[in-house]
């Protein structure tokens, strides 16, 4: 997929996420945030020449290279993506209980990924 196609998908996923609410939907939001992250992250990978448009990394842990070896401009986005992946393991794939700090954390991480995307567009 092209960066533009990924970004369009990311916008759809984010709009879907905004229909859900903390705390009741915390599992779904944490899980869904990874899908938004997938599209935002892969858009950046394509734009910065890390991967061609027909190759994708499902998650930061499957990127096959460390985050600090990525182009500096996108490292912050991938650290945010990696933290979303960690949250998914902690909450979705493990026994879990909602905690009050989670809501702010998830939205901030998604905002960080989007801000890197917007900064990349102005370069």
């Amino acid at each position: 997929m092209t960066p533009a196609e990924h970004l369009a998908k990311a916008q759809v996923v984010l709009a879907s996420l905004y229909k859900l609410t903390f705390p009741g939907d915390y599992l779904a939001i944490v899980d869904g945030a990874m899908i938004a992250g997938y599209h935002l992250g892969n858009a950046l990978l394509h734009e910065h020449g890390v991967l061609p448009d027909d190759a994708h990394a499902n998650t930061p842990s499957k990127l096959e290279r460390p985050i600090d070896s990525l182009p500096p401009a996108i490292q912050m986005a991938f650290r945010a993506f990696a933290e979303l992946e960690r949250l998914r393991f902690e909450y979705v794939r493990s026994p879990s209980r909602y905690d009050a700090g989670l809501e702010r954390r998830v939205w901030d991480l998604l905002k960080e990924m989007q801000q890197v995307k917007r900064r990349a567009e102005t370069i």
Binding site: V12, V13, S16, L20, D25, L27, I35, V92, R93, S94
Partner: protein
């Protein structure tokens, strides 16, 4: 994960699904159907003693993340064979509809929802036998 934890998570994803329009929110709709189904399947596998609700051992796997991961180290129990196939159908929607550029249509939504209903039916039957 304990059976009760799996069932709580499955219910949580079902509640989220009820807030989404599959024709508009297809990406997350697909993922949440998969997640709810995976939790129900894991609950049923634990109830049958095929997998453990704790850490994996040499003899028994723990939770499956997907129908193929980790690969089940025993024959799929006959009472869950259909559920495995139905969950695999939902999982296979991801390349096109979650990671890819396609959007769900009415026909695919109907098939996915029928698949999940079948998973729920078959796993409920297993769990009721164990009186969970």
């Amino acid at each position: 994960m304990k059976i009760t934890d799996h069932l709580e998570k499955a219910s949580a994803f079902e509640r989220a699904l009820a807030k989404l329009n599959p024709l508009v929110d297809g990406e997350l709709y697909t993922v949440f159907l998969m997640r709810a189904g995976t939790n129900r399947l894991n609950a049923a596998l634990h109830a049958l003693g095929i997998t453990t609700d704790g850490a994996a051992t040499a003899a028994k796997l723990g939770d499956l993340n997907h129908t193929y991961k980790p690969k089940l180290n025993s024959t799929v129990p006959p009472e869950l064979k259909e559920a495995f196939m139905r969950l695999s159908y939902i999982e296979d929607l991801r390349p096109d509809y979650v990671r890819g550029s396609k959007t769900l249509n009415i026909s695919t939504v109907s098939k996915a929802e029928s698949a999940y209903a079948a998973i729920k039916h078959d796993t409920d039957a297993v769990l009721k036998q164990g009186s969970v």
